[in-house]
Amino acid sequence: MTERVLVIPCSGIGKPFGSIGRDATFRVVDELRRGRAETNCLSLLVTGDEEAVRQVKDSLCIAVDGCPMECARKNIEMAGGVVAAHMRVMDLLRENRGLRPREVTFLDGDGEKLSAILADRIAAKVDELTEARR
């Protein structure tokens, strides 16, 4: 089992929710928990890339899903990985009804706010999983 936590977003492209999950993931792996969390292409799992499958099997994974199809969680599990935590953007929207993200390509203000909230939660989960392993 690797030391780093693997965060995999669905990167859904049709609605803002996938963009929010993707953006939040990058905030975590490139800024908030750089060096302690990493990500990889969900597409590689979809195509059965051996290296990606091995990485998923060897890591504690956090799935970040935009919509109820839960593609990130399902693809991690299909690859034989363990989903240690599951974050859903739809849940976040229910908790923050005042925020209404509309833009997909480049997040608008509400999308950025939701991304920041989600990133903090993912970062906290990374800490929790890392601590639990010690």
Binding site: I8, P9, C10, S11, G12, I13, G14, G18, R22, D23, T25, F26, R27, D30, T39, N40, C41, L42, S43, L44, L45, V46, T47, D49, M69, E70, C71, A72, K74, N75, M78, V104, T105, F106
Partner: protein, 136 residues
């Protein structure tokens, strides 16, 4: 009378680097204005869920937009739905143009957005070519 089929565009998810973000943004620019009649499909759904994605790609011409040479979108479409109508390899395009990939995978700067627009033009050329082949 000219019959033009719907065309699907499938971007790789490309979380590993700026090339994936470029593919994704270029694909979105197609939908948002360059060729708004186009349909996009979520690549992870090919494996994980709604079989409608696979069926669409079986029935309509579909163009994968891949960030890197691994060409995950193209491979997934070929695996689950059959041959692609055309394809875009963003890494190869950037090599051909002699330009660097975006340094930041989360936030694209002005030059990166202009690059995404250029990639979108390449996607549009392939859409036009595919639809041209269907003229009746």
């Amino acid at each position: 009378m000219k019959l033009r089929p719907k065309v699907g565009v499938v971007s790789c998810s490309g979380e590993c680097c700026g090339l994936g973000t470029l593919s994704r943004v270029a694909t979105r620019l197609i939908l948002e204005g360059v060729r708004p009649e186009t349909v996009t499909l979520c690549l992870p759904l090919f494996l994980a869920g709604d079989s409608g994605e696979r069926e669409f790609a079986q029935r309509f011409p579909t163009i994968p937009v891949d960030g890197c040479h691994k060409q995950c979108a193209k491979k997934a479409i070929e695996k689950y739905s059959g041959p692609t109508a055309a394809d875009v390899d963003v890494e190869a395009l950037l090599n051909k143009w002699g330009v660097e990939a975006p340094a930041d995978r989360r936030v694209l700067d002005k030059a990166d957005v202009e690059l995404a627009e250029r990639v979108a033009e390449e996607i549009a050329k392939r859409i036009d070519w595919v639809q041209g082949g269907w003229d009746a």
